[in-house]
Symmetry: C2
Subunit: 339 residues, 2 copies
């Protein structure tokens, strides 16, 4: 289709080919309703013949918008079962592309975590950001808000009452409720919780799902809860301690990483996961999918998260009235061999 010529075709080239002016071609692309049907068809034919695509730099210079969305990739943490980002990223890229945007990745140098944002913003390289780690008193949200930069957060503004930015999050509490209900149905009553330190808002939210649901079913929680780091090793030790003192028949974990540690302990003690002791993780990571008996896990609807993020971003960038500040999605439970 595209006619190969020495130089890349521009608006002027197309205008020449179609026998109209530049502006008419521009209108054909941006406001086709302004053109007479016949003219529009002729211009479109010319575009096709020449294989024309508008130059992004020029468009972006003039309109002051790059149609790029910035996303910072965190320094990789190995040993944690967070293939989360993988799934999320795929979906974010697809949703963005569907909305005419592209995703630009950047890493912030070791020094100032805000430097990357600042640079991209000042050079008008991106139209907006998606931020993904709002949990730990992270300064990004506040800083971006202060600067008036558009962004959508994956994660609630837990401890920021003054914030007004749009966000999308997954209801961890509801996810854990699903897990506990599932285990109760399977006739478990001594269900232990293995989760994170108290400082984590996400951790407390998930834990609340366990506490509430246990109490709803009239089950005791005292002495059945362990807290620690998000590591395999902690899961291992916590399971050992709990098994020795409280002999629970099921474990609900704040993450797949921890659940893997619990599985370690079961294996060491010759207990068969699923039949002897049930285990449920959180994240539905790849490890959950492929590790031996298959780990039952709470699955975050990351695909939908990405879709919602792009939707909110679109609203924000179109300066539409914000009809909705937050969006809370409910996870599902993927049942596998360990329960």
């Amino acid at each position: 289709m595209a006619r190969r010529s020495g130089k890349a075709p521009t608006l002027a080239t197309v205008a020449d080919e179609a026998g109209v002016s530049r502006q008419t071609v521009s209108n054909a692309l941006n406001s086709p309703h302004l053109l007479r049907e016949e003219t529009l068809a002729r211009v479109r034919r010319a575009i096709d013949v020449l294989g024309y695509s508008p130059n992004r730099a020029a468009r972006s210079l003039r309109t002051r918008s790059s149609h790029l969305i910035g996303l910072r990739v965190e320094p990789a943490t190995e040993g944690t079962a967070n293939a989360l980002m993988d799934r999320f990223l795929h979906s974010l890229v697809e949703s963005s592309n569907g909305a005419g945007y592209h995703v630009l990745l950047f890493s912030s140098g070791d020094a100032d975590p805000l430097a990357g944002y600042d640079d991209l913003l000042r050079s008008t390289a991106v139209d907006a950001f998606v931020i993904t780690d709002t949990y730990r008193g992270n300064p990004q949200a506040r800083w971006l808000e202060g600067r008036g930069a558009p962004f959508v957060a994956f994660g609630r503004p837990w401890n920021e009452p003054g914030s007004t930015h749009p966000w999308v999050d997954v209801d961890g509490r509801a996810g854990v409720t699903l897990a506990v209900e599932h285990l109760v149905e399977r006739a478990h009553s001594r269900i232990a919780w293995v989760g994170w330190q108290k400082g984590s808002y996400i951790g407390e939210d998930r834990r609340a799902g366990w506490v509430d649901t246990m109490h709803e079913h009239g089950l005791a929680t005292s002495r059945l809860s362990a807290r620690g780091d998000d590591t395999v090793e902690f899961g291992r030790r916590a399971a050992q301690a709990l098994l020795e003192s409280e002999s629970p028949t099921a474990f609900v974990c704040a993450s797949d990483t921890i659940a893997m540690g619990v599985l370690h302990t079961l294996a060491e003690r010759g207990l068969r996961p699923g039949s002897d002791v049930a285990v449920v993780g959180f994240d539905d990571s790849i490890a959950a999918q492929v590790a031996p008996p298959g780990l039952t896990s709470v699955r975050q609807p990351l695909e939908q998260v990405a879709v919602e993020i792009v939707r909110l971003l679109g609203q924000r960038l179109a300066h539409k009235p914000i009809e909705q500040r937050g969006c809370l999605l409910t996870p599902t439970l993927t049942v596998r061999g360990t329960s």
Copy 2:
């Protein structure tokens, strides 16, 4: 530092502030050696005071280069233990940023896998591409080459004798050799191979590492090899069949996914991985790291791959003479509980 003003500062603003002309400021940024030391200092101070960053769109329009590198994200394949991309991506982003580039992600619509490339190229949105799936007669490399678009491939041009593009790859054969040597040292002699179908170049390369090393040590390979899909299920069945007919004492697998399947089978039969039967995977995925006894696995130096890719890309974009077409890196072996 940055003085907050209504509009974003431009070259002209900075020039005014410093009492010089636009071009002088431009030179201060792009060819500082042209300026007298004192002038340079004054300009830099002005830049600092105003918080100026050059507008990327304008620069890119003029220089015809966006300093963006395009990377297509593949449709996610769940159930496979390939958190490869995660590690690779992180490293690629960091290396690129170090070299003044950013990574732009795109997904190709369901229809034409080349559409995304074509679009970005015609709209001059990216300077170059990184392609990651050269294995299966993929048309991208050939198409990009035909178009004269700069790119570097992660993966050798296995079946493309005519190709001349730069590439970086990991020596899978050497990786499997490491695995087999390791097992031989551990006094194993009946070492089985569980790998992919014949069609896969990568698969055959890795398998050759097993065959060669076995023969070097005077060990037999016949009937000790199984081929199939890259799934947990295949690994499971292959291990069952091999254990029944040939009773190997060790398995070397073409991927961690397959290795996980082998571990399934061992668990079903009450065999303890590591002490009864050794298993080695390939990729050092997260699953390998966290799954119960810890899976010994061949680890690809993805960080280094990314660094080399960016280096080659830099050479290509600077129109330097290409000193090196391909770059083959050697993986390492991460020893864990299963061996």
